[in-house]
């Protein structure tokens, strides 16, 4: 029930995105890994053809590896009639850029701004990519692993 990809949905999606959903590995509960190029197309298909109209969340995560910084952006949608959630992940490199979902989902506006603010993933074509939580003159992205939790911010510490 809480699994990310319901088999019937996967069958249907596999017709449209054979590269992504043909492999057996996509049943991994961590969610399907989708190439960045298909990010918007998948969201559009899900919204328009499969009724995933409720925008739930977007989660960016920083994974520092031996090769360098990598990022993952997970997007969660929900189908309001079946209450079924669906999520997929996009892997990004050291300079994280991903197309915005704002034209599809108005809620992506603030969510993506928040992830930009805290993790530093830049959502391309977002109309208003400002910091949301921290003040405009803040330096660094707090939720990156390289950012110390007690990074001093003058004049208090």
């Amino acid at each position: 029930m809480m699994g990310p990809v319901d088999p019937a949905l996967r069958e249907a999606l596999a017709k449209q995105f054979p590269d992504v959903f043909a492999a057996e590995g996509d049943l991994d509960p961590n969610g399907v890994v989708v190439p960045a190029a298909l990010h918007v197309a998948l969201a559009k298909t899900l919204k328009e053809s499969f009724g995933f109209t409720l925008y739930v969340s977007v989660i960016a995560t920083n994974f520092p590896t031996a090769e360098g910084e990598t990022y993952e952006v997970a997007t969660v949608l929900r189908n309001p009639t079946t209450a079924q959630p669906f999520w997929w992940r996009v892997r990004l490199g050291a300079d994280p850029q991903l197309a915005t979902l704002y034209p599809l989902f108005a809620g992506a506006d603030w969510q993506e701004r928040e992830q930009f603010d805290l993790v530093g993933v830049n959502f391309v074509d977002h109309p208003d990519m400002r910091r949301l939580m921290l003040s405009e003159d803040w330096e660094g992205f707090p939720l990156r692993k390289s950012y110390a939790i007690d990074t001093p911010h003058t004049p208090w510490r």
């Binding site: 029930m1 809480m2 409720l54 969340s57 995560t61 309001p80 999520w87 989902f105 809620g107 910091r131």
Partner: protein, 396 residues
């Protein structure tokens, strides 16, 4: 002009659309303001008293909780989670512990699940009571009828907090849930106290409802104000009562059951009004429903253990599997509180690698630029109050 709300309102601070020479008054509401429910700041561009554009600025209570979660172990997290949504700490704890349990595959004993259900419903009542008080306070004024109703709702909220205190020893931040079950068992006389409390509330709720719905000024102030159309509500990710007031029949308690909700029937209140009054109606209906659920469950709590794991002794007793990611959501009084949990962080996996909280209030706040445009300054507080935001949850 049959454009959808989304298309005709630009929510962004855009220099081209707000004409600086048009003599608009730029009015800051917040961060310290009696009616912004905490430290939200809304910048209003006013033409006379009509709002041309509303730009909310959250973040004045950004406490870096997600960063803190990466440094604390799973056992230490529960008291932190109490403080996000400080009006409903109980359900916040549950959201965290369910996420951890689902990731670890831990079963929760039936008794603990029943207790959690009762606690969640009591918390929903307490939270909605506080909402009712502050909402009417916003409409009726600090010196006025709203204040009277607020005093009543705070009075009704106290017995519920007393019941919590009886169980957990704390009035506010409980720390009573743990992975695998609950920490405190039901004490003697608790069921009777809960029943007394529910009887009292059930007897008085109609009065409070009547005080609002029979008041013509209240109806004038709420009907047709702050409309959030159904497609926009879905796009924004509104959940809980706000979404149901926009005509979407979605309640995770019924549709994706957690706790003991799969064993009982939950009647979901839905309204097609999409406006402030619809949100009011939905929440009032939810309160009656919560009273019914608590009364139904309180006599039927099964016997048995309250926790399936060993009692917590050390902070890194629980270890999350590395690399596993999961989204878990439950229905709190404000809507879908989700957690995106990535296992295998510091302390050999005892800390989460990443814990993203999906707060329902943040999404509700994102609706403000759409819901406020075209209304007057007075309506800001009514709309804001009806969306029931908690800034601790918005900013985290």
């Amino acid at each position: 002009m049959n454009l959808r709300q989304r298309d005709r309102i630009n929510p962004h601070l855009d220099l081209d659309t707000v004409d600086a020479a048009a003599d608009l008054m730029a009015l800051n509401m917040g961060p310290q303001h009696p009616s912004t429910h905490g430290v939200l700041r809304i910048k209003l561009f006013l033409d006379g008293e009509v709002i041309i554009k509303a730009v909310p600025y959250p973040g004045y209570l950004h406490r870096g909780v997600e960063k803190l979660c990466e440094r604390l172990t799973c056992v230490q997290l529960t008291p932190i989670f109490d403080k996000h949504d400080y009006v409903a700490p109980m359900t916040n704890e549950q959201a965290l512990n369910i996420a951890l349990e689902r990731m670890l595959g831990v079963e929760v004993p039936r008794r603990a699940r029943y207790m959690r259900t009762i606690l969640a419903e009591l918390q929903r009542l307490a939270s909605h009571l506080l909402w009712l008080g502050t909402f009417t306070l916003d409409i009726g004024g600090t010196i006025g009828g709203g204040a009277s109703l607020m005093m009543y709702t705070f009075r009704e909220r106290e017995p519920i907090l007393d019941v919590f205190e009886m169980l957990t020893g704390a009035r506010f931040h409980y720390n009573t849930h743990q992975v695998g079950g609950n920490r405190h068992d039901i004490p003697d006389g608790w069921a009777a106290a809960v029943k007394t409390c529910m009887d009292q509330l059930a007897a008085r709720m109609p009065e409070y409802e009547e005080q609002c719905v029979t008041n013509s000024v209240f109806l004038m102030r709420t009907k047709g104000i702050g409309v959030i159309e159904t497609p926009l509500a879905l796009e924004l990710g509104l959940t809980g009562p706000n979404l149901r007031a926009s005509g979407v029949d979605l309640d995770l308690r019924r549709d994706a059951p957690f706790h003991a909700y799969d064993e009982i029937k939950v009647n979901v209140a839905v309204s097609n009004g999409c406006d402030t009054h619809a949100r009011f109606e939905v929440r009032i209906a939810e309160m009656y429903e919560s009273i019914r659920i608590v009364r139904e469950l309180i006599d039927n709590v099964p016997e048995g253990p309250i926790c399936s794991l060993k009692p917590v002794r050390t902070v890194n007793q629980i270890k999350l599997p590395e690399g596993k990611q999961m989204y878990t959501a439950i229905e709190t009084p404000r809507g879908e509180l989700g957690t995106w949990l990535i296992g295998g962080g510091a302390e050999k996996g005892a800390c989460p690698y990443r814990l993203k909280i999906r707060p329902p209030s943040l999404h509700a706040m994102a609706a403000l630029p759409y819901a406020l445009v075209g209304h007057t300054v007075s309506d800001v507080v009514a709309v804001l109050g009806s969306l029931d935001p908690i800034m601790g949850e918005v900013d985290r």
